[in-house]
Symmetry: C2
Subunit: 740 residues, 2 copies
Amino acid sequence: MISNSIIYIVLAASILALAFAFIFYKQMMKQDEGTDLMKKIAAHVRKGAMAYLKQQYKVVIIVFIILAAIFGIMAYFKLQNGVVWFAFLTGGFFSGLAGFFGMKTATYASARTANATRKSLNSGLQVAFRSGAVMGLVVVGLALLDVSVWFLVLNGTGLLEAVGAENDLITITTTMLTFGMGASTQALFARVGGGIYTKAADVGADLVGKTEYNIPEDDPRNPATIADNVGDNVGDVAGMGADLYESYAGSILATMALGASAFATAAVEGMQFKAVLAPMLIAAVGVLLSLIGIFLVRTKENAGMKELLGALSRGTNTAAILIAAATFGIMYFLFGKETGEYANMWWQTSLSVVVGLLAGVIIGKATEYYTSQSYKPTQKVAESSKTGPATVIISGLGLGMLSTAIPVVTVGVAIVLAYLCANGFNIEFTAANLSRGLYGIGIAAVGMLSTLGITLATDAYGPIADNAGGNAEMSGLEPEVRKRTDALDALGNTTAATGKGFAIGSAALTALALLASYVEEIKIALIRIGQDLPNGVEAAKATLVDFMEAYNVNLMNPVVLVGVFIGAMMAFVFCGMTMNAVGRAAQKMVEEVRRQFSTIKGILQGEAEPDYERCVAISTKGAQHEMLVPSILAILVPILTGVILGVPGVLGLLIGGLATGFVLAVFMANSGGAWDNAKKYVEEGNFGGKGSENHKATVVGDTVGDPFKDTSGPSLNILIKLMSMVSIVMAGLTVTCHLL
Amino acid sequence: MISNSIIYIVLAASILALAFAFIFYKQMMKQDEGTDLMKKIAAHVRKGAMAYLKQQYKVVIIVFIILAAIFGIMAYFKLQNGVVWFAFLTGGFFSGLAGFFGMKTATYASARTANATRKSLNSGLQVAFRSGAVMGLVVVGLALLDVSVWFLVLNGTGLLEAVGAENDLITITTTMLTFGMGASTQALFARVGGGIYTKAADVGADLVGKTEYNIPEDDPRNPATIADNVGDNVGDVAGMGADLYESYAGSILATMALGASAFATAAVEGMQFKAVLAPMLIAAVGVLLSLIGIFLVRTKENAGMKELLGALSRGTNTAAILIAAATFGIMYFLFGKETGEYANMWWQTSLSVVVGLLAGVIIGKATEYYTSQSYKPTQKVAESSKTGPATVIISGLGLGMLSTAIPVVTVGVAIVLAYLCANGFNIEFTAANLSRGLYGIGIAAVGMLSTLGITLATDAYGPIADNAGGNAEMSGLEPEVRKRTDALDALGNTTAATGKGFAIGSAALTALALLASYVEEIKIALIRIGQDLPNGVEAAKATLVDFMEAYNVNLMNPVVLVGVFIGAMMAFVFCGMTMNAVGRAAQKMVEEVRRQFSTIKGILQGEAEPDYERCVAISTKGAQHEMLVPSILAILVPILTGVILGVPGVLGLLIGGLATGFVLAVFMANSGGAWDNAKKYVEEGNFGGKGSENHKATVVGDTVGDPFKDTSGPSLNILIKLMSMVSIVMAGLTVTCHLL
């Protein structure tokens, strides 16, 4: 009844997304770019951004070639199948492409947004939001394209058999997971490199310009100002694009793999295939709903802030509610006719998605509560500026640490509920219940990310508005324009909270799903080399629970515990490295800006032009130089852990990294967000207002928060999943050779 | 051959420790307290400190009565045995007593140290160090007293049978663990309350006095200065005393319990009893070696810094080397005659101790490297002051995060090696190998802490020297005295690094040992209520591995994973609470100090005396008020987790809390230490020296570091173990009633 041809729906959805992205892009390009000065500044930023991306991809390509070669060698030694190296490359390629398109759009859109904002707030929103939507749609379009084409190829042709692998759905889906590793690797480099770039430029520009010379943000006299605007594009746009591509693709791929294994032995024919289809179909329908949401974001021409906020919220909320409803439809279409043990599966699994969506909303609201200056916590951070920068830092750190409670408890409850919903509320811990429950957790993550087309649009238009403001400032437009772009940016921060809640929550759930995929890959590796489990159970017939017992993956095994310790440490060490990288790169920028201020005559009077290029080059070089070590560490540690500690050590590592990394990421993101908005709160005229000592104290907080919320924090989500992906790809090595 | 009477050796060692503590105390009291002003100031501080302790104990007694009542009720419902409530009280009582004696000594010693320092550096060291030794010896003496007397009572009389419990070694040792919970509870209150007190006063005094009014540290014109000095006593002396009492007693008790269970079914008679004896005997011998070490700390009267450092190092190093050698002797005495499977046990288990000691030394050296201004990392933090306070904070946080790598890897390697040494290098994961390996991990922790008598002395004399400096400053002694006390304090920081390494490492190992004790307690609870394991295995015959399988404590169980998440979160939330508590209490102090400066006429000219009492009262009240919520949370969360998630959830919670808490604690301690010393490095004349903008930037770092290194960081070690202890005591409740 349901055949392989249904995949063409997914393929069609991906093409639809890309087509609309193209249309929105063309619409944006038709807008007027404004004055000559505006065009010139935009061209500067665009050139710098493209130069950076080119440089970045050069480095990343080398890493990819080396890794692909390693996978090729592994395939030769039967430690991996022969499709992996290529799947890995495509994942990285499409992820990079999404970042490239997103950034190209953003750099063309900034001057046009500034120009449109001269007319009205609404016009500005339309240009910026539609440009953000290009990014959202490109990400989901390319991801679905890669997923659907690979599935068609692997499931339809004998490719896997040709390279000597099995040709069943489990092998197909776990092979496809390696394209997830390509996306994760690309995402980590993009986030870390872009994050270091943007924060080095930002911190450097602020420390000298704002603090030492008292000139405003984005002032053309500041030599680092172009680099700062380039940074917003390479960090917040290209970095975020690659990041969410990875999350989106990762959740779909992991859930497909879980579906393949959970229903591998189902007595009902076609169950396994339908379970693999479900996440793809939810994502495909999500594309349609995202488009509906995007078109709902429109108001009257003279709309004020409140109407605009309403319009944005209407778009995202409608998409979220519709996807919950649509999931029931999709699940009924797939499983509605089942009887016996699967009779209730359609609505039970759908409930898992509802659980996930609710969790995302709660995390989003909590994030908003802790980081918006409309609420007490951030106001208290602002108030602590009365006693200087030290207390601003202490209270911001305290706030961030406390703010982890709600997201973690919410995710915990969501895990248990999504699990129980999907396995029919069966507490008993059996292999079958476990597999179905884990599948429910995966589906919940897919549901949360399925409307990424619009949620990413609300996220990505922020940096575009921000850049438009920079352009307006530098090209001397009336201050009203800057005020409006700031308002647009602030608007985005509010609506983006839900999107961030979904991203954080789904990352945790996806990482959990990847744990199960890791065990599945261990199984495939054993079958490939013809070995049984250590306790003699035949690999092909072993369940997840058998693996836990055979490899002693329990909490009394010291090897597991050591793995957990190392995982927890990895999260901290990785953050420490990226924090220090920002510090070092910013230091160089500070020195250069100081040098220019003191050696270029007339620079402060606006009579001489600063050497923008040099600051751009410093950021580019600094980011390239600094991103390598932490990124390579993230790839090496899981491999080394596997070779030394074996399977139980790797699973410990992944759990330790996931738990600590998740909490640390929430802490850093929220501390950083609160510091940012505490500064804004003071700037709004509270506790002495702009220019006061209190304001200076909050600027210190904001500067510390920059790497927190834009470099180290967001990279953690990728780190967690990349470590899982690496472990999955390296499973063949781990089972054949390990010390303990 | 080896009978119960050998316990009298342990009892004798404890009395020896207490006797020498008394002698050193009397010697110190014989010294001259100096001028009348010195006496008056010392009396002020003493009064404030005692008033605080009295207030603190009042609150803690209420908590203890409530908890003891709960244990009584649990005993009535057969959820716990009838000795527990009383054992719990004695643990808390002795821990509090150790803090009280230590603080009493310290507050009497400060003026005497200042006075002796007027004569020579060496005289000052002698008074301060011997006073620190009082604390060290009181802690080990009282702990061994409690352990040995309880063991004599429980093993020699029919007390346990009288309350309806079994009278075997497993029940005896796990019952004794509850006295560990008393010590942990007391320690948490002491650390959190004392930590908030001292940092509120310190931060408050610094922010207004140093930063706003530019008056030096410990200046008598500063109203918060007495509170600051009181804080050093209640935080660094009483808090640390209770903390290390808990670590020391906890490691011995946990290892005794592990020994009882590992050798419960040993075919050789007396093995179990000897395994229980071993940790007590190592600790008893450690007392002797500590005394030898303490007496080795002496030099010529006119000794310089280098000689003094040599003397201190000689003391601690000799004790550490001797305990390694002595362990082989003790183990040979106990197990040297064994044959068959236990033939090599004596030297194999001894090797575990050597592993532990080496790990402690490595962690200590790494701590020194990352936090001393003699090395690059801290110097770089100081250098980053050139670009202001924000970069000082960023680089300090980066340093702290990176610095977690060596301690975590070291502990990981130590866990594996101590485990493998103790079970005869047997990788195979069997119940017998596991139990013996865990026993080895416990013994390693005991070895690391066995010379606490001297390592604590090198730690505790720092605050005494610090207070002596304060006394010298306030009573207007010649500046040379202050310089010497500062030198003594700095000296202590260097030698204390090893002690801290031992404390951190042993805490991680002990917490691991407590995990196994938790499972053992589950077993006892099942036997008490006459239930089998969920999978039908008879409780009395079940091994650790059986429990893991019966309760599904593996990494695929979502309940375990949710537990790990919550554990990781607990570490952060607890730190957030204590950070915020310090912030709030400091805020109140700042307001009061500002008020006094502006309303008391002539205060800045030194013509009018500030109202010291009021600042003392504010700190006392703030600390009392703020310590309750985080401490009670630490007790409630494990109970709630048990009731909701059951046994696998609790084990997840403990692992998550241990891994994240351990890494977070190292991060916070090292960041805080580095900021402190970066400030000192600038004060030594680097990067502009005292009074420069750079110096001000490092003062911001130091202020943020205060709660890091003296409140939140050190409390984490206790939190980890308290959560384990609570879970152990509540095991009966968890197995009989839980939701999932």
